[in-house]
């Protein structure tokens, strides 16, 4: 498969806890992006990290990228019920202009 792998496929935690999702990919990339999808809706862009960056923050989100391991992680701190959604990583391959999506992690935040 050309797609990346996300781990875990589903995650359920209590409100206030931190949530960590992982993404692995298979080829050299220009950048990696994370998107959120609320149930039955379109995707919303969360954060982009370039191949020459190792860590990036945006509000309660922290993304890391390890190009030697071809992997990334998304950390959501102090989770809220509104964070319940599916989270997808997507990579832009070197030499290509399209995004390649992973299969997503379904995150449930329990109040």
């Amino acid at each position: 498969s050309q797609q990346g792998e996300e781990d875990p496929q589903a995650l359920s935690i209590q409100e206030g806890e931190n949530a960590t999702m992982n993404c692995s990919y298979k080829t050299s990339i220009n950048n990696l992006q994370w998107y959120r999808q609320n149930s039955g809706r379109g995707l919303v862009h969360l954060i982009l990290i370039r191949s020459n960056e190792r860590e990036k923050h945006s509000g309660r989100l922290r993304v890391t990228l390890d190009t030697s391991k071809k992997s990334s992680s998304l950390l959501i701190t102090a989770s809220r019920a509104a964070d319940t959604a599916s989270y997808f990583c997507a990579t832009v391959w070197k030499g290509a202009q399209k995004l390649v999506f992973g299969q997503g992690t379904r995150l449930t935040i329990n109040p």
Binding site: Q3, G40, G42, L43, F88, Q97, K98, L99
Partner: protein
């Protein structure tokens, strides 16, 4: 804010019908994309367009065609709908042809059921 709209949220069609899914973006983006999303398979790229009247096949173009006559509008056409085309269809747009760093903006999706 960028707005990407899709013509229908839900659509039910019969096998063999010709189906048009319309997507419109209001931010003058050059690039537009059509994906389908299926459980266990994630998002898969059907077709994309760099600019008006330009189109490129994605990963799963079979059974589909597209039209981009105006910059803001990108249409996905199912020439003869089949039950295996039942899916969620997502349209997206992106600014600038040569920028590989830009995010994609997605529409709300069209859930198509083919009976």
């Amino acid at each position: 804010d960028v707005k990407v709209t899709q013509s229908s949220r839900y659509l039910v069609k019969r096998t063999g019908e010709k189906v048009f899914l319309e997507c419109v973006q209001d931010m003058d983006h050059e690039n537009m994309f059509w994906y389908r999303q299926d459980p266990g398979l994630g998002l898969r790229l059907i077709y994309f367009s760099y600019d008006v009247k330009m189109k490129e096949k994605g990963d799963i173009p079979e059974g589909y065609s597209v039209s981009r006559e105006k910059k803001e509008r990108f249409s996905l056409i199912l020439e003869s709908a089949s039950t295996n085309q039942t899916s969620m269809y997502l349209c997206a747009s992106r600014e600038l042809r040569d920028s590989k760093d830009n995010e994609q903006f997605f529409g709300p999706g069209t859930r198509l059921t083919v009976l």
